[in-house]
């Protein structure tokens, strides 16, 4: 390549990569997930609702649940209202069914004091032995109190589907 072309192609290439990186950047709010909802300490303001909708955007089905009622009861200092969850009592939410490349996943997430205490698999299918991933995924969800854990080798799709189901269930609390 002649040097002028080299410079031009080099700069253009860097430009394209930067443009792609900017275009591919996810909207920052999407990161705010369950912990935010859990730590809403005091009032039953309307703020939890937008957060909840934010989380549910990747899974369109989540919007079906009536949110306002559940969100009010989630404060760590329980108001004692007879509702679905309190500090000491464990509550559960079931995700919608997430279907993906190798099967379907549906989970039930149980929370106590804002912590995930149990995750059970209502439906969980994965071809070619990928279902072996579920036990460790359940453990990882409990350990991390959410879905911010890494991938599992060779089971990217299963992991993604599982995380999506958990997020979906968490959004319903």
């Amino acid at each position: 390549m002649r040097s002028a072309t080299k410079t031009f192609v080099g700069l253009a290439g860097i430009g394209v990569v930067i443009a792609a990186a900017r275009a591919g950047m996810p909207i920052p709010t999407a990161v705010a997930t369950e912990p935010v909802t859990d730590s809403t300490s005091s009032t039953t303001t309307s703020t939890p609702t937008p957060t909840a909708t934010e989380t549910s955007t990747p899974t369109p089905t989540a919007t079906a649940t009536p949110k306002p009622t559940t969100t009010t009861t989630k404060k760590s200092t329980s108001t004692g209202s007879s509702g679905s969850s309190g500090t000491t009592t464990a509550t559960s939410q079931t995700s919608s069914t997430v279907s993906y490349k190798y099967g379907v996943v549906q989970v039930k997430v149980t929370k106590k004091s804002g912590k995930i205490t149990a995750v059970s698999l209502i439906q969980g299918t994965a071809t070619k032995g990928r279902s072996a991933a579920f036990p460790s995924l359940i453990q990882a969800t409990i350990d991390n109190n959410g879905t911010s854990f890494g991938n599992l080798s060779g089971a990217t799709y299963t992991v993604d589907a599982f995380k999506e189901a958990v997020k979906n269930a968490l959004a319903k609390f």
């Binding site: 390549m1 072309t5 192609v9 253009a12 792609a20 996810p26 991938n151």
Partner: protein, 472 residues
Amino acid sequence: MNQTATQVTLTPPNQRVRLGIKKWDQLKRSQDLLETLAWGTVVLVVSMFFLYGGAAKFGNLNDILSSISRLTALVGTDLLLIHTLLVARVPWLDKLYGHDKVTIAHKKLGKPILYIITAHFLASLIQFAIADGVSLISELWTLVTSVEDMWSATLSWVLMIVVVITSINAARKKLSYEAWYVIHLLGYASILLAVPHQFTTGSDIAGRPLPTLFWVSLYLFVAGNVIWYRVLAPLLLNLKLDLRVSQVVRESSDTVSIYLTGRGLEKLGGQAGQFYMLRIMNAKNWAKPHPFSISAAPNDRFVRFTIGDRGDFTSELADLQVGTRIFLEGPYGVFTEERRTREKVTLICAGVGAPPIRALAESLAARPGDVTIIYRVRSYEDAALMGELEQIARQRGFRLHVLAGKRGVATSWLPAQFNDLPDQARLIDMAPHVSESDVYICGPSPWTKSVEKTLARVGTPANQIHAEEFAW
């Protein structure tokens, strides 16, 4: 054999040739365009990675490792496919760069690709080992034994290491050509073994239409070029031509000319100055192709190679039986009139470099006085193709300087008796128009370098100097 007495039938020279610097500019433009396309694929794969949110994935160690693994996989595979295309002997690449330059580019890419793919392997392994909380060894074992298509991907990497190591110069010297070649073929296996895991577990291809389209097209394009130009086209051509040895003539104490005939030789194409890969089709030699330049302009009567006796294979050629089947792959190379931009031409050759110069002299479109031929030999009496060069010079009004004698000053490309003056003075004396002519040089590599140095001193622009670098 003394051929000065016998007149050879010369093929009529080219009637016209396009000259001028514009031709050179066009060539450079095409080269730039092609290289831009090649680098463009690298930019494209990296861009696709970022376009799908790759920039957000550098937050923690796991994401960093995953991103390194994915980026190196994408760039490495892209370069690997380009690397493969470079040895497919694709005519459109050969025409733009010449076989030698393409081969050099192929060689240069080998090691970097291995490093990039190794980085991919290590990054994935470490990432998964951390995620699963186990040692690297046990993670590797899990990957290879239980994860889909991972055994073949790992094997692909191992084969790649073997191919690169056996191609390092030091190893090449110890290995026979055949052993090296068979091992090098494993490179194709390596490429194919890596394909399944890219499409089944590769996070950047499966389930994404744009990357899938790109990668499938790139794979098919490279495979198509390799299968057609490297295998099918030469095979079909040779079956059609059915080339046979028709005559073996001794030209000097250490050179022989081999004449081939066949059906419809015009289909072979080619230009003076080009070379073919020649295979003697017998049990012992069919798998060993050797490059030789044609020593007579292409014509419909015969194909001729004039070969210096230098090694075991070349001495075998002298004993070839008439009727032996020969396979030719080619033509290759840009040591041709197509690269000529000036009216004047200087042809310079030494010893075994004479054949392509002899063919060029025969076919160049030129008027009397346009061409100067300089032929460096050990002794006038024992010089291959001397009679033919004299005949061409006489018939077409070219100047011919035969420089016979022992070597003098180490850095000089001229015989000892010429060393009283600098080489450039001698060159201008022999070829007064050398600085404004196209110069074609063919000879041993150090000798060629020395000629090129002299040409730089007399002011011949680099784009007018043509020398085929032998890169095998």
